[in-house]
């Protein structure tokens, strides 16, 4: 059994490379879209800062009395956008390296791509857990 395993190693065959190439193409699109959306969101919030604060002050009374809350709001949005951009960076790097690894048949590049994809899923998982905890806390 072990002999068979060493001879018949798992390969990135034609089917696997096609599926992975397609997956990386869509992942690259997704990451680039993520970068663009985050940049647009930050620009939008900075440009519409006064309108957003006046809108929030209508919903939350005394919002305008809380000093420089607009700056804090922008900082929070920039940090959130930064976290999403980091997530998208791992996805982008993973997609680029996996595709390059398949095209050039470079084992090292392919493994580095998988490492970046792993980092993406780890970060995504941690964010999902944090989101779930905050969701559960909001019930009580």
């Amino acid at each position: 059994m072990e002999e068979n395993q060493s001879i018949l190693e798992l390969q990135v065959d034609q089917t696997a490379s096609k599926n992975l190439s397609d997956a990386t193409r869509w992942a690259k699109f997704l990451s680039v879209t993520g970068f663009v959306c985050m940049a647009l969101m930050v620009i939008f919030f900075i440009a519409m800062q006064s309108q957003i604060i006046s809108l929030l002050s209508q919903v939350v009374p005394g919002f305008t009395d809380l000093g420089n809350l607009g700056g804090v709001l922008i900082a929070v949005i920039i940090i959130a956008a930064g976290i999403v951009c980091l997530l998208m960076y791992f996805l982008f790097k993973g997609s680029i390296l996996i595709k390059k690894g398949i095209e050039t048949k470079s084992q090292e590049t392919f493994n580095n791509g998988l490492a970046s994809l792993k980092a993406y899923f780890i970060m995504y998982g941690i964010l999902a857990i944090v989101g779930l905890i905050s969701n559960l806390v909001s019930i009580f």
Binding site: L10, K105, L114
Partner: protein
């Protein structure tokens, strides 16, 4: 050039121990994401079933803030979320099976599910962006009319 083509056979790239380790880790975290998402859907249903509407009094005017979401939209979101997470689950399950059981077929099917996962998310992002763009155009047109 021909020599290079012969050298670059289809089976040059293998899933070595490093790649296997990365894939196992990816599968574990993917499972965490799927489980977290499913728990999140249960929480969303619970939240939708107990709608709370807070009324904030602001300078004599009652501003109503809907804290609970519409049950229909929650169910719609859950159906789409379950569809996406099904493919993520299949990717994790089959890839793990493929790596641990040295099954090329399972590994390939796992990668296929990863592709479908990214395709569905990308299509949904395109739809969402189109809706946002239409909303902005509608708001712009409305402002011009006024």
């Amino acid at each position: 050039m021909e020599q290079q083509d012969t050298g670059n056979s289809l089976f040059d790239l293998s899933i070595d121990e490093t790649a296997k380790d990365h894939l196992r880790r990816i599968c574990s975290w993917t499972m965490v994401i799927v489980i977290t998402a499913v728990i999140g859907y249960v929480v969303a249903i619970i939240k939708a079933l107990m709608p709370k509407t807070q009324v904030i009094q602001s300078e004599g005017f009652g501003v109503s803030v809907g804290a609970g979401q519409n049950l229909g939209s929650v169910i719609f979101g859950i159906i789409i979320g379950l569809l996406i997470n099904y493919f993520l689950y299949q990717f994790a399950n089959l890839t793990k099976k493929g790596v641990n059981g040295m099954s090329q077929t399972d590994l390939n099917t796992g990668f296929y599910n990863l592709k479908i996962y990214f395709v569905i998310i990308s299509i949904m992002v395109i739809i969402a962006l189109a809706i946002v763009l239409l909303a902005f155009l509608a708001i712009g047109a409305n402002a011009r009319v006024k």
